[in-house]
Amino acid sequence: MRFIDEYRDAHLVKGVLDEIRRTITQPWVIMEICGGQTHAIMHYGLDQLLPPEIELVHGPGCPVCVTSLELIDKALIIASQPGVIFTSFGDMLRVPGSKGDLSSIRAAGGQVKVVYSPLDAVRIAQENPGKEVVFFAIGFETTAPANAMSVVQAQALGLKNYSILVSHVCVPPAMHAILSSPHSRIQAFLAAGHVCAVMGYWEYPPIAGKYQIPIVVTGFEPLDLANGILMAVRQLESGKVEVQNAYTRAVTFEGNQAAQAVINKVFQPVDRQWRGIGLIPMSGWGLRSEFYEFDAERRFNLGQIQTRESPLCIAGQVLQGIKRPSECPAFGKQCTPQNPLGAPMVSSEGACSAYYRYSSAAEQLNSGGL
């Protein structure tokens, strides 16, 4: 397949890995922001092929993982109400709230439907005029355009029974939060290629400048990741600090203008709670006042609710790159993909799930996991 096979070519990847080995002279800590990148690294075993000087730290870029417990609990309350069809991406169904998850609501008779796109939820609202249809609008800048478009469509169709439960989060404020932490060891970032395909990378030069940290926009195939790491290592070794783009086939500096326009039409920046990390000011998007009628939190008037996290789960430290999943005492024991205590073990982008599914045989056997 064009644009895929050549980026998984073992010889090309080996060439870049050799170049990284020739360039590197000392240890470096690099964070890949996006959970999709974490999974690709583990899926292809790229971590085992890198020189030992490189420590990859996994970032908070998993939309399922950082969705706040409060919003998940609100989703559970809404989904269990009669007359509601609650629609969501599949990954959210098994994320534990304070009590239970969406799949247990479905098993108890609640109408919870997995959709592949928010526009499917709009169609369900059209077909079920007697029901309230709610879409769980989670995600980073990548899912925001489609989620915003669903609201625009619902408005154009005059739908009065469609609303979204918004938990949108944005990457740049999270990078600020990680770098301002006194625990941060991060020396370079691989920026999330899909986010940048939407947003461009004009937001990053101020971050690179303020924290004196190289940032490389990086894709998701093994060759993309190897190239991103090589560019980061070259900057680190030469003492340069720049924002570079290693994913030019998908990302421009300005990004996708049409997508940004629909985001700005529907959403505005708001403070956002990140699960495991806490409140990050202006780190998310909420609906603009002209679209309040599509806001599920207002429509269902949920108010404040009490939440309770599992005391065993160290998801917050994993999401900030302070601890590795395998350092969690519950990893592979009380917490598994079948019985997740925290969101990073559920999502196909979660770091714990990546470690559980893909980590090298030796590491998993030694950790006593499984």
Binding site: M1, I4, R8, A10, V13, K14, G36, M42, H43, Y44, G45, L46, D47, Q48, L49, P63, V64, F89, G90, D91, R94, V114, Y116, S117, I138, G139, F140, T142, T143, H194, P222, T336, P337, Q338, S347, S348, E349, Y356, R357, Y358, S359, S360, A361, Q364, L365
Partner: protein
């Protein structure tokens, strides 16, 4: 029909509707309507001596087991696919092939099937006819007879159109020891063809992909292919079809049963371009997607080439290839050598496979 009854109304009891076009509760009553359904729709497809006798059980002539010292292979499975028809197959073909294949995985020659039907009130008889005809064709291809059956009707909403259970009986010739617990270090792992076709074809038929694909389900009876393999390679240790959970899950079962390690080479595992493309878009891994017409063969290396040649002569084994080897440790695990040369654990699927978010 409605017109007729309205004319007669008031003078005599209305003539009951015949319900020739759709299933109604009366078809499951066990009375006249059930008999008519069976006479009109089931028997024409499945007519054979055992079934036509009309008793509560089929009386079967088995191979002379005492003389041949063979054994029996018996399996059952229920089929609840939605939608009932998809590219490359339907629930009827699936219900015959799935059980024929399960019986064959012990190296048995499948002989007889039973078929139990749960029909939902309102099912168009035309649909039932198509399914029965498809079952008959698959049974003919696999050279098995459907010798006993049952039909029940449930109220509308209590089933999804049509569910089928089939059970299959086969004969294992003497001296044949094939099973998931028989893999040995040093064996090689062969695969009869491409992974993921059936699962993607069914997803596409559900309209859940959001895009068109030309992928056809691989649903097929494998007993003829397996017969050729066993003739060419008599010392096969394991036969297993990677159905639900896909290749990864099935190989994990074998690794556990045999307490061995299975090492796969990702670049050798065949996946059709259209299936790969669909998986790329959805974030699925083809190694976890169901197949209904593929078989894993594990055997000593000296018979591998003969087995591959035999598979490739079958219409269902054109892409047959060697995908890995059996080692002693780490036991009960499947490892995958990735395209770029890393190695990772290929684990069981946890729960259902979900499309990625972004």
């Amino acid at each position: 029909m409605n017109q007729d009854t309205s004319i007669l109304e008031g003078s005599v009891c209305p003539v009951p509707l015949q319900h020739k076009d759709q299933i109604v509760m009366g078809h499951g009553s066990g009375g006249r309507m059930t008999h008519e359904l069976i006479q009109r729709h089931f028997l024409p497809h499945f007519a054979n001596e055992a079934l036509l006798t009309g008793n509560d059980a089929a009386c079967l002539q088995l191979p002379d087991l005492a003389n041949l010292q063979g054994r029996l292979s018996l399996s059952t499975d229920s089929y609840i696919v939605s939608p009932l028809f998809f590219q490359g197959g339907d629930i009827g073909r699936l219900a015959v092939c799935g059980t024929v294949n399960d019986v064959s995985m012990l190296g048995a020659t499948p002989l007889y099937l039973t078929a139990g039907f749960i029909l939902e009130e309102g099912l168009p008889v035309e649909i039932l006819e198509k399914v029965l005809s498809s079952m008959q064709q698959a049974a003919a291809e696999a050279n098995v007879k459907i010798v006993a059956g049952d039909t029940k009707v449930v109220e509308k909403g209590k089933a999804d159109g049509l569910f089928i259970n089939t059970a299959g009986l086969g004969w294992i010739p003497a001296g044949r020891q094939i099973g998931g617990e028989q893999a040995l270090p040093g064996d090689v792992v062969l695969l009869s063809g491409s992974m993921g076709d059936h699962g993607i074809a069914v997803l596409a038929a559900r309209g859940e992909l959001g895009f068109e694909t030309g992928v056809q389900s691989d649903v097929a009876p494998l007993n003829n292919l397996i017969h050729s393999v066993l003739s060419a390679a008599p010392h096969v240790h394991v036969l297993r079809d990677p159905t639900r959970g896909g290749l990864a899950t099935t190989l994990n079962e074998i690794a556990s049963q045999s307490r061995v390690n299975i090492l796969l080479d990702e670049k050798n595992i065949p996946v059709l371009t259209a299936v790969r493309a669909a998986c790329e878009m959805l974030g699925f891994d083809p190694l976890y997607i169901a197949n209904e017409g593929k078989v894993i063969v594990i055997l000593p290396p000296e018979e591998a080439e003969a087995a591959l040649t035999a598979m490739r002569t079958s219409p269902y084994g054109a892409l047959a290839t060697r995908i890995g080897e059996v080692k002693s440790s780490p036991a009960s695990r499947v490892l995958l050598k990735t395209l770029i040369g890393g190695t990772r654990i290929l684990d069981l699927l946890a729960g259902e496979m979900l499309p990625r978010i972004c």
